[in-house]
């Protein structure tokens, strides 16, 4: 054996070894702790949902799942931070915002949803509820639409910020119903609630848990829900879709999902998807998520990819009409 052959042999061995360890690494996955980067603060819905999933995964995979909160820029910072980590062990728990609207709202966003990210699994969805002060004139959706049409430009609605889910949902609703309402942005649902209770603004699409508590106390009126079907949280609240002349396909939901870097090995993403889906099928997870206002989902990677594509289109149009597109 001459020197060149020897070198070739070593190289071949090295290549073979690399393949072997690569395959083994994926077979043994996870052989080290998994990191979930949550782009929202501790105690927020994505954080709580992420922790519920992490708890189930730890049990099933036998490895710790570490939650890291990296809040900021509406969740975009969490996605950026995830991309800095090991693609096989670092995933982001994020929401519809960074996956659909952030690329249009934030100039110089450091990631491209299609090129840099891979959907893993849809974790949960939450509808929004259209609310008014309990002393407001209209009693139902039909009356509200009529009332708004009689007072074009005078009806004010609150949201949790320009380009937020509650803002875009109301714009989508107003567009479909042919209404002209004035947008008053706030920073949180608490501020919006306070403003409606003080009769400073007229209406808002709000997260179910807080709105239902005020409704039960007789402080708020509830006109409709933005999901296609009634929510198990509020079975009596009718969907807006197909009511009061609204289109049958009216649907606006917030969602929370797990996403990976585009460099994450497909086998690992497949496995994580299956495991998350299994966690989300447990009655305990379903009940716990519902108690904080969210419906457990699950499904395939493709289901999440479809949702990202569809919502990017829907919200993109709304943003375009509202003149908010920055990119």
């Amino acid at each position: 054996m001459n020197r060149r052959q020897a070198m070739g042999g070593v190289a071949a061995l090295a290549v073979a070894a690399a393949f072997a360890t690569g395959a083994a690494a994926q077979d043994n996955w996870p052989s080290e702790p998994i990191h979930f980067i949550v782009g929202y603060p501790a105690g927020s819905s994505p954080d709580t949902m992420g922790r519920l999933v992490a708890e189930g995964l730890e049990e099933r995979l036998g490895q710790p799942v570490v939650i890291e909160n990296k809040p900021g820029a509406g969740g975009a910072i969490g996605v950026q931070q995830m991309l800095q980590g090991d693609p096989a062990y670092t995933f982001a728990i994020t929401t519809n915002g960074p996956m659909t609207t952030s690329p249009k709202l934030i100039p110089d966003l450091a990631y491209d949803v299609q090129e840099d990210l891979k959907p893993v699994a849809l974790i949960g969805t939450s509808p929004l509820i259209l609310t008014l002060n309990s002393e407001a004139e209209p009693d139902n959706l039909e009356e509200f639409i009529a009332w708004s049409k009689e007072n074009p430009g005078d009806i004010t609605y609150g949201s949790i910020g320009q380009g937020s889910g509650s803002h875009l949902t109301t714009e989508l609703f107003a567009d479909a119903a042919g209404l002209d309402m004035l947008h008053i942005p706030f920073a949180s649902f608490s501020e919006v609630t306070n403003s409606i209770l003080g009769q400073e603004i007229n209406a808002a699409f709000m997260a179910p848990s807080g709105a239902l508590a005020q409704f039960k106390a007789g402080n708020l009126k509830i006109l409709g829900i933005s999901s296609a079907e009634p929510s198990p949280l509020a079975p009596d609240v009718p969907p807006i879709a197909g009511h009061a002349g609204m289109p049958d396909d009216f649907r606006a939901e917030l969602w929370i999902a797990a996403v990976a870097s585009a460099d994450a090995p497909q086998e690992i993403v497949d496995k994580l998807n299956t495991e998350i889906d299994a966690v989300l099928n447990s009655q305990e997870a379903i009940d716990k998520m519902l108690s904080i206002g969210w419906q457990a989902q699950g499904g395939t990677q493709q289901d999440l990819a479809d949702r990202i594509e569809k919502d990017t289109g829907v919200w993109g149009d709304v943003l375009e009409k509202a003149g908010l597109v920055k990119n």
């Binding site: 990296k70 100039p107 380009g163 008053i184 942005p185 949180s188 306070n194 005020q214 108690s291 904080i292």
Partner: protein
């Protein structure tokens, strides 16, 4: 169930051994976390929240609340000893507390802070029990116009805080307001002065600003100075009681501070920083000896500390009775309650009386714990000052970095604290007061957002600030303050006496 029965019921919940134990753990952790610069209640509660999933809800929430108000106690300790506010609210405490410590009267300063904190908390609990529904109702009456004029009043009232020249004070407030403009504009969604940095979309981090302006700049200025400090050999209870004459000065400032803190605390979204500044400004206005301010006036420690702590208690009012948290920490508390299956809000008193009254009763118990815990510790804290600078200051820098990082896990914030620290040192060389920069930074964005929101709602009609009764009241107070200021300055000029000069806080 009436209030008295409710409280008794609450005591029966809060004195269960487990709940009592977690209450102690909470206030104990809170005190220590408050002492650490930058590591605030927010970071501590975030870390503890997942742990509480496994303990009973009453104990869990009592502990988390204990961390929150316990941290307010601890926050003043490093502010007084090292001019290193543990929480942004305690930046005001440093104005008078630090000069006292430099004069070798750290024990007195700490004692003033502790008693102010205790009085503020206990009266705050009383206010919470007696007036919660009323204060909650006033809270919903506050719209954008009311907030805008109230903040403006805060700015006018506090702009007199410790400075040699009004122009320098004004400059600091304005710089603070400009820094507050950085980030995403709430009204338009536009990105202002972010230079393409995603990390700046939510603005400059308040904790990074406070730690840089106070902590790091103090470390830098001490590198130059020599290691000479006046220290008493012993700081025990007996030594502190020798200063009885000073102690008598504490009571009324603490009561005034409590009232201010209770009011601002109960309004969602105003925060403790404003209450402490206004309390400080009030004490300077009502005192007969304003020349002592800036050189270590105990009123300027006790008042703001009482305001800070009573505000921390009444901040629970909108959260518990309306389900509307006033700040990020309260939002986290609300999240914690929801995770434990409790929906705070108008129905909480009916649905979960054990939680509502148990929590309130635990505040009282927790504050007693804090008093018992902290009085003996004063001596130990003062002993911190005996650590040589060469060990103490590197340790401070490490803690500041950890603290700033803990707020939102951002290395950008850690770098920014370095830059802010250097700027803060330059400002202190030129005798500017960084506390006013902090005030402008907190108030500026609040004024802007509410002013623009009020004008959006009134379709651009400026009269809205005078037509709504509460807002009109604030406007009248602003005009009165300005006229009074003009009147006193004219009178003192005619009298030929120079206006009382007040030295800078710090050095």
């Amino acid at each position: 169930m009436n209030t008295f029965e409710g409280l008794l019921y609450g005591l029966s919940v809060a004195t269960q051994p487990t709940v009592l134990f977690y209450c102690f753990v909470g206030v104990f952790l809170g005190t220590f976390i408050g002492v650490l610069p930058g590591v605030g209640a927010l970071a501590a509660i975030s870390l503890l929240l997942p742990v509480t999933y496994y303990i009973q809800p009453e104990a869990a929430l009592v502990m988390l609340a204990g961390v929150y108000y316990g941290a307010q106690y601890g926050g003043s300790i490093a502010a007084i000893l090292l001019r290193l506010p543990g929480t942004p609210q305690s930046a005001v405490t440093a104005i008078e507390g630090y000069p006292l410590a430099r004069q070798g009267r750290a024990g007195l300063a700490l004692f003033s802070a502790m008693s102010g904190s205790f009085i503020g908390s206990m009266l705050g609990i009383l206010i919470l029990v007696l007036f919660a529904p009323l204060l909650a109702k006033i809270g919903t009456k506050f719209g954008a116009a009311e907030y805008a004029s109230m903040m403006l009043l805060g700015l006018v009232a506090a702009s007199t805080v410790g400075a040699t020249s009004p122009a320098k004070s004004m400059a600091m407030v304005v710089v603070g307001m400009i820094l507050g403009c950085i980030g995403t504009d709430v009204n338009s969604g536009a990105m202002r002065f972010t230079f393409g940095q995603t990390a700046l979309l939510d603005g400059v981090n308040l904790v990074a600003l406070a730690m840089g302006l106070f902590g790091i700049s103090e470390v830098i200025s001490n590198i130059r100075g020599s290691d000479e400090r006046k220290l008493r050999e012993k700081v025990g209870l007996r030594e502190m009681l020798k200063e009885r004459r000073e102690l008598r000065r504490i009571i009324f400032p603490a009561i005034r501070g409590t009232g201010l803190g209770a009011f601002f605390g109960a309004l969602p979204g105003t925060g403790g920083v404003i209450a402490t500044f206004i309390s400080y400004a009030t004490e300077r206005k009502v005192t007969r000896t304003p020349e002592r301010f800036g050189n270590g006036a105990v009123e300027g420690v006790a008042g703001p500390e009482a305001a800070n702590n009573s505000g921390a208690i009444t901040a629970f009012i909108p959260t518990l009775t309306l389900g509307i948290p006033g700040d990020v920490v309260m939002a986290l508390m609300l999240g914690a309650m929801i995770i434990h299956g409790i929906q705070p809000g108008p129905l909480m008193l009916v649905e979960r009386p054990e939680m509502f009254w148990g929590l309130i009763a635990s505040f009282g118990i927790g504050n007693l714990f804090l008093l018992v815990l902290n009085l003996p510790l004063i001596g130990i804290w003062v002993a911190l000052l005996r650590i040589p600078f060469s060990l103490l200051y590197p340790a401070i820098v490490v803690f500041v970095c950890i603290g700033v990082y803990s707020v939102r896990g951002s290395t950008f914030d850690v770098y920014s604290v370095v830059v802010i620290g250097a700027a803060g040192y330059a400002l202190s060389l030129m005798k500017f007061n960084p506390a006013l920069l902090l005030l402008g930074f907190v108030l500026g964005p609040l004024i802007e957002t509410n002013l623009r929101r009020a004008l959006l709602l009134s379709r651009g009609d400026l009269l809205v600030f005078f037509e709504r009764p509460i807002s009109a009241g604030f406007m009248a107070a602003i005009i009165a303050l300005i006229l009074w200021g003009l009147f006193t300055s004219i009178r003192s000029r005619r009298g030929g006496s120079a206006p009382a000069s007040v030295t800078e806080s710090g050095d």
